[in-house]
């Protein structure tokens, strides 16, 4: 931007100087001509040895007869026409460019008629066939009879000047186009005031050129930048610097600010003083914002990476070129130490081969990412089990630039997991043992009961005629006691089964389960059991849910005291639960026992009222717990009870 502008100025200056010089010479020529005329009139004729003073002229000097034959030339003329010294005389018509023939003849006519011509500009062809631009001033030379006998002229080579002008006008056009259409603001200023600026600059700040001319630096620059701006300006003024660059906020007309990058250059006049300054202004507000965002993000990323509990490293050319704190802590080495280490150095011997073969696959581009669990050897010799993931970062041509390594210390996790597994195994084993134990115990307890029952039956059978009624009643009581005891043992066995058996979850049709439970119950004819709404398909343990409804329904039937007993099963749902209601119009439960009834061996009735082991609802409660649900009871003594069972829906229910 600056160079062409400078060149224009230089060329302009050059031309102006040339012009000045040419004018001076012309004046000189006029003087000389006057002298010559005077001399000629005195001497009567001009000798061949004409005044030698022209031979010293910078411009070419030529004298010819009226036919155009050259009589005399100075050194410059020889050079201009590219004539050999011995080639004189030659005729000047040979020099005329074909395009200018007519123009040359007219001018010659003018010369003869008026005695002189000035500023005849034409192209000539030198004796060596080169085209040159010349400017000629000529006049006739008269003899003592005042009759012209020869002509003389000064021929100036303006080839360079002509080119410059062409160039200049072309460039001028280009530059003014660039100046006006540049997206960059261009400002010409002198003495800290704007003299000229382009459209882009106007648009940036919102001031018209007229307004700009009135602006002081204080109006334009962000206050905190002013001292620096002034200092730089002073440096420029003092010519300690010819060019400055600064970034600053500039105040727009509307009071907002823009961030600008400013390049300012001194343009010097011929005398070496500062003529003006040209500044190129670039709006970097968006760029600055983006740079800010990127820097902010980079900062955030650095913070995240550095504070990540996961070890992160860049692996480049077989070395850890960058590592975060967690990685350094995990390996026990400093970033500097790691920068000279390979994977092999920090890998446990037994894992080295597999690590390096994995690593090679990544490095050779056969794999993009892999995860492995391997042992690291710390600086202090300790072993660390860590989950390691390595991913390759490639350039656009799929060459691996470096690998990102993420390492998570799972030593503790692996240990805890192993512990957990062992614990689960033990638990499983002890559960199995417990289940077996419960079965054996129940068998051993039930066998004698069966024998007692049988023996009592035989006594009653065999001594039918020998025992009285009260003895027979007592024998029957023994049998019912034995029956209670067996029910108790079965209950305990069922309860222990629930706690020790594996919870096998599957899809369960509750409708089917409830109907089965109803079928298995001995329901007296005066009790009506009804399923009020279709029962759903849910997820749970089929065995346990069967037990749940068996217990609830058998209770509802058992504790019925009405002539028209009614038992019903109903179902609703909410987003979290499947909700079942088992309702009866039986004896009901006092609310002070609501909590107690779900405890093990909690029975509210004496043997002769209702036979109960106090295990049924404990089993129900436990099953509900295992299904992550809850159970509620609502009841009024003498009117009936409603048990509401909430069974938790799984998060992703497929039913």
């Amino acid at each position: 931007m600056i160079a062409p502008t400078q060149k224009i100025t230089e060329l302009k200056d050059l031309l102006a100087a040339e012009k000045k010089r040419s004018n001076a010479l012309e004046k000189e020529l006029e003087q000389y001509k006057a002298q010559t005329r005077y001399k000629a009139s005195k001497a009567g004729a001009l000798t061949e040895k004409a005044p030698g003073r022209f031979s010293g002229l910078v411009d070419a000097y030529l004298r010819m007869d009226l036919n155009g034959n050259v009589l005399e030339m100075n050194e410059s003329a020889y050079r201009l026409f590219e004539a050999d010294k011995g080639k004189l005389p030659f005729n000047v018509t040979a020099l005329i460019h074909p395009d200018h023939h007519q123009y040359a003849m007219e001018s010659y006519g003018n010369l003869i008629e008026k005695g002189k011509f000035a500023d005849f500009a034409s192209r000539i062809i030198t004796l060596k066939k080169k085209t040159k631009y010349v400017q000629i001033n000529a006049n006739l030379i008269y003899d003592h009879l005042n009759k012209p006998f020869a002509a003389e002229g000064i021929i100036r080579d303006i080839t360079v000047g002509k080119h410059s002008w062409d160039l200049l006008s072309a460039q001028n056009k280009e530059f003014s186009y660039i100046f006006e259409h540049s997206p960059l603001g261009i400002v010409l200023s002198a003495e800290s005031h704007i003299k000229k600026s382009n459209k882009a600059f106007e648009n940036m700040l919102g001031y018209t050129l007229e307004e700009q001319k009135e602006l002081e630096p204080e109006d334009l620059f962000f206050p905190s930048m002013l001292p620096k701006v002034k200092e730089m300006q002073a440096d420029m003024e003092a010519q300690q610097k010819s060019q400055i660059q600064l970034e600053s906020f500039l105040r727009r007309k509307d009071g907002t600010f823009m961030k600008a990058r400013i390049n300012s250059t001194n343009i010097l006049a011929k005398n070496g003083k500062i003529k003006h300054q040209i500044a190129i202004v670039e709006d970097i507000t968006t760029l600055a914002m983006q740079t800010n965002i990127i820097e902010e993000q980079k900062k955030q990323l650095d913070i995240i990476v550095d504070n990540s509990p996961m070890g992160i490293a860049l692996y480049e050319r077989g070395r850890f070129s960058k590592t975060n704190r967690a990685f350094q802590k995990l390996t026990g080495y400093s970033e500097e130490e790691l920068s000279n280490m390979t994977f092999e150095h920090i890998t446990h011997k037994e894992d080295q081969d597999s690590t390096m073969s994995h690593y090679r696959k990544i490095h050779e581009g056969k794999l993009d990412k892999l995860t492995m669990q391997k042992r690291y050897l710390k600086k202090n010799g300790e072993l660390v089990m860590a989950r390691t993931s390595v991913s390759a970062v490639k350039d656009s041509e799929a060459n691996v630039l470096y690998q990102v390594v993420m390492v998570e210390d799972v030593t503790e996790q692996v240990r805890v997991e192993a512990q957990k597994e062992a614990l689960l195994d033990t638990l499983e084993e002890s559960n199995t043992q417990l289940r077996e134990y419960a079965h054996i115990v129940s068998h051993d307890l039930k066998s004698p009961l069966r024998s007692i029952f049988t023996l009592v039956s035989w006594m009653k059978e065999d001594c039918k005629d020998k025992i009285d009624e009260s003895t027979e009643n007592n024998l029957t009581l023994i049998q019912s006691t034995v029956e209670n005891m067996e029910a108790l043992i079965n209950g305990i066995l069922a309860y222990s089964e629930i706690n020790t058996a594996k919870f096998a979850s599957s899809s369960v049709c509750v409708e089917e389960i409830v109907r089965n439970a109803i079928d298995m119950l001995l329901i007296p004819p005066h009790i009506e059991v009804e399923i009020k709404s279709p029962l759903p398909l849910i997820v749970g343990s089929p065995v346990q849910l069967g037990q749940l409804f068996q217990n609830l329904l058998s209770n509802a039937v058992k504790y019925s005291d009405k002539l028209d007993g009614k038992v019903s099963v109903d179902y609703v749902e909410d987003p979290n639960y499947w909700i079942f209601k088992v309702e009866d119009n039986g004896i009901g439960i006092s609310d002070k026992y609501f909590l107690k009834i779900f405890g093990l061996f909690q029975s509210l009735h004496s043997e002769d009222e209702y036979r109960s082991t106090g295990i049924g609802l404990a089993i129900v409660n436990r099953i509900v717990e295992l299904h992550k649900g809850k159970i509620e009871v609502a009841s009024k003594e003498g009117e009936g009870s409603t048990f509401t069972v909430y069974l938790k829906k799984p998060k992703d229910t497929f039913v």
């Binding site: 069966r450 029952f453 023996l455 039956s457």
Partner: protein, 150 residues
């Protein structure tokens, strides 16, 4: 029923009262079946090996000392001479694991001993009646099969 020659039954049961119940039920029901007895699996196996004429049907308890019902069953099913004899389990164990194992080895029935004597009589009577109307290959079926194949 009279037209049938009643099957010979081997009862393997360690509990004396259980054995008494079995006999009494058969007597009361008027069954003519001949009943052999063993008090545990080991005795049962010895009896089978020593006798020339094999029982037609075996009623087998599971929880027994020395050789349990399951072990006895396994030995019978692995013995070519014995494996054809139908074995009916009569036990206290409602353990699902036992039930599955019995069917895996090969049984002809699985009866749970009820607590009440009258229920027991009812169940056993039905079972005996059922087997008595069944045709069962008499004698040493295993030996016969073996000789036929030669």
């Amino acid at each position: 029923m009279d037209s049938h020659a009643e099957h010979t039954i081997l009862l393997i049961e360690d509990d004396k009262i259980e054995r008494m119940k079995f006999h009494r039920t058969l007597n009361k029901g008027g069954f003519k079946n001949k009943v052999l007895e063993a008090t545990h699996g080991e005795e049962g196996l010895a009896l089978l090996e020593s006798s020339k004429v094999l029982p037609d049907l075996i009623f087998l308890d599971l929880n027994m000392p020395r050789v349990s019902g399951l072990e006895f069953l396994k030995a019978v099913k692995e013995n070519d001479r014995l494996k054809h004899i139908p074995c009916v389990i009569i036990t206290t164990s409602s353990n699902n694991k036992d039930l599955l194992e019995c069917y895996r080895l090969g049984i002809a029935g699985y009866i749970l001993k009820p607590l009440r004597y009258d229920e027991y009589v009812d169940h056993l009577t039905k079972a005996i009646e059922y087997w008595n109307i069944n045709e069962i290959q008499k004698g040493n079926l295993g030996l016969q099969l073996a000789s036929e194949s030669i």
